[in-house]
């Protein structure tokens, strides 16, 4: 099979299966559930297989798959081509996005079992991977923006999936609107780039080769606007508020969209524009600080949350903060590596949370979910592994990725970033094990066991991944060759750190983490202390960020809209137009008085007309003679 065809199938198979499910869903009232399952799984399964194939060849044979689909527009010598191009970065993204998507599809088939909107769910899910692949595979930012918007749209649709509860719809709206702010930044950056780069084509390569022509201020502006887009998608301060609310969607959605794939699009975008950010150093540093503050903020907030999914949501935000820190100091492949491992363990954590939620009949408060270890030891093992991974305990995968970030931050010369990252990382350990100990190390409570095999198997596979995914980018110190960085070949900035320092760093780090785990165990395991924590503290109320945003942005905007609606639109414009219409009507009535149907009067009008015509003629003739 040719490369072109492979890439096209990779992109289109989820779209085709989504369309088929849609057609079946609207045309038949009663459909067997397994038809949906078969279609959805084959759609994502085919693309996952091809994605593995593509990244295999990209990794080992350095092969770049290209497929030119069509020319989108062509104005003079400016053309926008829709071209799929699996360069190393795209292939790398495919390597984890496609398989994780497939596994979560399998999981969702179990989780959504017997749901009345089963078909609709998989339409969205398959469409989501289509847009995600579009975002990752295309070779110019304009088409990427289509994918970017598409995943945002699907995210909106899936957050409000259970739209019977208006709160879910509000959460969806919030996600969509906050993302719009980010998209505005992205779109403005695109336009500016369009103006600056202009006619030389608009693929990434063309843009990067023209970067030197753009003056510095403009570059800074473009880079910061692009990052605003990433901020929205990847839930960084100040545009993070949608992510915790996004947990209103079904748990597979949180696992796939709001943990493993979509939220990492911002990281991908910054890494994609690495040549730009390497020039705009100030913006990069700004990104690093935003990442650091987000990581720390989210970790602090997560340590006083009680909703199991909200804890994980803040944890996602915090991990994304780590990635942005690494991006900001210029260690792009390190950030991508952390994204890679994060996709596995965070998807696993969410799936575990989903299994627990199903088992407890959709309760999400960890104070009510106790003693699960006795009923479902397998789940315990997997969740515990995932927590050890996120805590960066060697030799789990995140140890390598997070430690790489730590050493990069340490050697980057921004020591305050390093300490913020360290604090966030220790807090991560604290809130994760707080959750684990409350959930599993506590007295038994009766629970059902409804996790189907479809839910357990993907989790088991992800457990293996989250343990072993680290081997992809083993640092030199453990005998690795940083294979992934070599593969990606991004313009990383170089950092030097001596091996002894690195070992020292790892050792201290690991010791601190173990200390925190022991502290957390003492505090939360087999105690009821969590029930005595105050829910009114400023941390538990998320530093009142939502309230502040409400007061500072939402309410003024709302009152402005109300003012415009009532005063301007209703009173001013409506009244003006209505009164004009009224006047015309009155005028019409006045004229209709003349048209009374009485032929005598028509004769009079003819007479008047003739007289006036003659007078006019007479005047003209007199003037002429």
């Amino acid at each position: 099979m040719s490369d072109t065809l492979l890439l096209n199938i990779l992109l289109l198979s989820p779209l085709v299966s989504a369309s088929l499910i849609f057609l079946i869903n609207i045309s038949m009232s009663q459909t067997k559930q397994y038809i949906y399952t078969f279609l959805a799984l084959s759609g994502s399964g085919i693309s996952a297989l091809i994605a593995l194939f593509v990244s295999y060849y990209s990794y080992f044979a350095k092969k770049v798959f290209v497929s030119h689909l069509f020319t989108w527009l062509s104005i003079g010598d400016f053309t926008i081509e829709v071209t799929l191009k699996a360069d190393p970065l795209s292939s790398f993204m495919l390597l984890f996005v496609a398989p994780v998507s497939f596994l979560i599809h399998v999981y969702a088939a179990g989780y959504m079992n017997n749901d009345k909107s089963y078909g609709r769910f998989f339409i969205y899910f398959n469409l989501f991977i289509f847009f995600m692949f579009l975002l990752l595979l295309v070779d110019n930012p304009i088409i990427m923006f289509i994918g970017w918007e598409g995943v945002g749209l699907i995210s909106y649709a899936l957050i409000g999936f259970y739209f019977e509860d208006i709160q879910n719809t509000y959460a969806g709206n919030k996600a969509f609107i906050v993302n719009r702010i980010g998209d505005f930044g992205f779109l403005s950056a695109l336009m500016l780039m369009f103006i600056e780069v202009g006619s030389g084509g608009f693929s990434y390569d063309a843009i990067f080769s023209h970067l030197t022509q753009i003056d510095d201020d403009m570059l800074t502006l473009i880079a910061s606007l692009l990052f605003v887009g990433a901020m929205g998608k990847s839930a960084q301060i100040p545009l993070f508020v949608w992510l915790p609310d996004a947990m209103a969607g079904p748990t597979p959605v949180s696992a796939l969209i709001h943990a493993a794939t979509m939220v990492t699009a911002g990281v991908y975008m910054v890494a994609r524009f690495a040549p730009l950010y390497n020039i705009a150093v100030d913006v990069s540093l700004f990104i690093a600080y935003i990442g650091a503050f987000s990581a720390l903020f989210a970790a602090i907030v997560a340590s006083r949350q009680y909703d199991i999914k909200k804890i994980l949501a803040y944890s996602t935000m915090s991990q994304l903060g780590f990635m942005f820190m690494a991006l900001g100091v210029g260690a792009y492949s390190t950030a991508l590596f952390h994204m890679f491992t994060h996709a596995f363990f965070k998807a696993l954590l969410f799936m575990g949370a989903g299994a627990i939620i199903v088992a407890f009949n959709h309760k999400q408060d960890i104070r009510e979910l106790r003693g699960i270890r006795y009923f479902n030891p397998l789940l315990f093992i997997m969740m515990f592994t995932a927590s050890l991974t996120i805590s960066a305990i060697p030799p789990f995968s995140a140890f390598f990725s997070k430690d790489a970030i730590m050493s990069v931050l340490y050697s980057s010369g921004h020591i305050e970033l390093f300490f913020m990252a360290l604090a966030a990382s220790l807090l991560t350990v604290y809130y994760m094990f707080r959750m684990i100990f409350v959930l599993f190390f506590s007295k038994r409570v009766q629970m059902g066991d409804k996790s189907s095999k479809a839910m357990i198997y993907p989790m088991a596979i992800l457990t293996l991944f989250s343990i072993f995914a680290g081997v992809l980018n083993l640092p030199e110190i453990f005998g690795g060759k940083l294979n992934m960085s070599t593969w990606l070949n991004i313009a990383d900035r170089d950092f030097f750190i001596s091996h002894s320092d690195e070992i020292l760093l790892m050792g201290v780090n690991t010791l601190l983490i173990v200390a925190v785990i022991i502290y957390t165990y003492k505090r939360y395991a087999y105690t009821v202390i969590i029930e005595r924590e105050s829910e009114q503290s400023i941390v538990a109320r998320k530093f009142c960020v939502d309230e502040i945003y409400n007061a500072a942005v939402v309410r003024p905007l709302l009152s402005l809209s109300t003012f415009l609606d009532i005063k301007i639109s209703n009173l001013l414009i409506n009244n003006t137009i209505n009164s004009m219409a009224l006047q015309y009507e009155k005028l019409g009535r006045a004229f209709s008085y003349f048209e009374n149907g009485n032929v005598r009067f028509y004769a009079l009008y003819i007479l008047i007309g003739c007289v006036m015509g003659f007078v006019y003629l007479y005047l003209i003739l007199r003037a002429m003679l």
């Binding site: 048209e595 009374n596 149907g597 032929v599 004769a603």
Partner: protein, 101 residues
Amino acid sequence: MLKSYMILSIILFSIGMVGLISRRNIIVIYMSIELLLNAVNLSLVAISADLADSSAQVMSLIIIAIAASEAALFMALFVVLFRNKSSLDANLFDILGSKHE
């Protein structure tokens, strides 16, 4: 000489016009129309005599003939109108107008 014929024609035309516009009886309106017609005939004949060209007189003869046949048509019309409304008041026949929409 032509001038006085023309003045007479204008006077007749004006009387006809005023009658057409101001009277309500349909028969009187018809008579006014005939007056208009004959005012025009008079001017045609006068001009024709003045120019010593008889074609206009032929035209006015044709007009008189047509007006005669028209009279027959009008008589039939009056009967039909009277049967409809039991009256020949022109103001009653206004269904062309906007108030009957």
